[in-house]
């Protein structure tokens, strides 16, 4: 016998988002500096350094191509780190979630809050990347801002997937599998650093079902104005990953905490 899964729809998960925001605010400047510096270093290093030897890709300079991919990559990384390491420390090491649930909060409230929080951090990383693109003169005008909702969606997708891993993890070591088997391959199969057309057809087919692929296609289209093959499908795939991720992680974490 357990508590009902979904109670009267409340906004209690916002308390969890608020809690994480308050902690983040304490180290806000260091965190934002990291958010800005990291993608800038990649963009300048790879974009100008490597890009100097590269021909144009799909009709654009390499640094432009790379920037569109890096935007999604940094959102993915941000959401993943938050949903794995930070969330796991609150689940197991600090037992913050246990404390929250002694108040009138349910496991679903906690997981929803963490899910949204990790996606917001991803959005912040994406925003930092976009600012870097403006500063380097890669994008102009207001139109590229349309990418921000997509970045949030990418954040929600990877935050949901990450929380599933956290639900299953016994220790931090477990996350190494996720990085080696999921996140790193995703980076190379999703057209972040080079177009997917460079890969053998079988590998391309695998890439076609990955969330980062759809995120990267959307992001390039929205920031750089390249034609998008199937934007609606891209949004649906990302939304699908996000919904499945958060649903499964609510069920798993609830089972783990209410044991």
């Amino acid at each position: 016998m357990t508590e009902p899964l979904i109670e009267r729809c409340g906004l209690r998960y916002l308390h969890v988002v608020g809690r994480n925001f308050l902690v983040w605010r304490k180290l806000m400047y260091a965190s934002m500096l990291g958010n800005m510096a990291d993608p800038m270093i990649y963009l300048v290093g790879l974009g100008f350094g490597l890009g100097g030897f590269m021909p144009a890709i799909e009709g654009m300079r390499y640094i432009n191509f790379l920037a569109g991919g890096m935007l999604c990559y940094s959102a993915m990384n941000s959401a993943t780190f938050e949903a794995l390491y930070s969330a796991f420390s609150r689940l197991k090491i600090q037992r913050t979630w246990e404390g929250i649930m002694h108040a009138p909060m349910t496991a679903a409230d906690v997981v929803l809050g963490e899910w949204i929080w990790a996606a917001l951090k991803a959005t912040l990383s994406g925003a930092a990347m976009l600012i870097a693109m403006y500063l380097l003169g890669l994008v102009h005008g207001l139109r590229p801002l349309a990418v921000m909702p997509v970045v949030l969606l990418i954040g929600l997708a990877f935050s949901g997937l990450g929380l599933i891993m956290t639900a299953l993890a016994k220790s931090y070591e477990f996350f190494i599998f996720y990085f080696t088997l999921v996140i790193t391959p995703m980076m190379f199969l999703s057209g972040v650093f080079y177009p997917r057309s460079a890969l053998p057809p079988v590998v391309q087919a695998i890439g076609a079902v990955l969330p980062l692929t759809h995120g990267a296609d959307l992001a390039r289209g929205l920031t750089l104005g390249t034609p998008m093959a199937h934007p609606l499908l891209d949004v649906l795939v990302l939304a699908g990953y996000a919904t499945c991720g958060v649903s499964v992680s609510v069920l798993l974490i609830r089972r783990r905490l209410l044991k």
């Binding site: 016998m1 357990t2 508590e3 009902p4 109670e7 209690r12 308390h15 608020g18 809690r19 308050l22 902690v23 304490k26 600090q94 037992r95 913050t96 246990e98 404390g99 929250i100 649930m101 002694h102 108040a103 009138p104 909060m105 349910t106 905490l257 209410l258 044991k259």
Partner: protein, 301 residues
Amino acid sequence: MLQVAELRKSYSGTEVVRGVSFAVAAGECYGLLGPNGAGKTTTLRCCLGLTASDGGHISLAGLPVPAAARAARARTGVCPQFDNLDPDFTVAENLVVYGRYFGIPRDLMRERVPRLLEFAGLEDKAAARLDALSGGMKRRLTLARALVNDPQIIFLDEPTTGLDPQARHLIWDRLKSLTASGRTLILTTHFMDEAERLCHRVAIMDRGAMIAEDAPRRLIGAQIEPHVVEIYGEGVREFARDTAPRYAQRVELTGETAFCYCRDAAPLLESLQAHSALRALSRAANLEDVFIKLTGRDIRD
């Protein structure tokens, strides 16, 4: 305030709570006693809807648990066995942030925090980081945190374990003042003197079942002879076997000590005069004697 009927809970096939029933009235301080692993914490967690039970009925603050566990927790305070304060916040922030989870408005919380800090004796630690607190301070902060929603019923799982006498006395004092203000307390402890001091009624649990329940004084009166003489020293085994049973209603020899339970201790003490190698401690029977009689002397876990 709390009714529990036929509560059951198993962990991977082992039943650790086996049909426990009890009720706690409003304003009562109710103690749950039992050896390590008896199932006290599991019982409390079930009552709060924090663990899924396998059977039974629970009503907390007038609400069915787990069906309305969240709403029931809104009216309840919880001081868990192991502190789970938020290490990312200072002392005062811990209280403010916790108040948010109850949906308590910021202004009301601002009013409450100084009073809660005073209650916990942490007035000058408001801005301290958690790792700067001693174990006793953390425990007091956990107690203060359990009161942010001004609850009518409070669960306290071993509130004084690991604390020095000063800290224990301070917590006892606070718990008494909570009882005096009409709050209902449900308390687990391994200190029998603590239970005797604070609880109107106690229940003794063993291996997942409740084996006795009453007011501490009445349990002592009903279960055990009023006087205990503890005897130890050279030749105690022979004395316990040959002499003691003539004067004591019950004699238990454990290790090098004979526990003699008597209706009247005088004849036994007199007989000891002839045994100069033996030393004796004569005292009134207490809850610990009852506890040991009912749960045995063997170590659990």
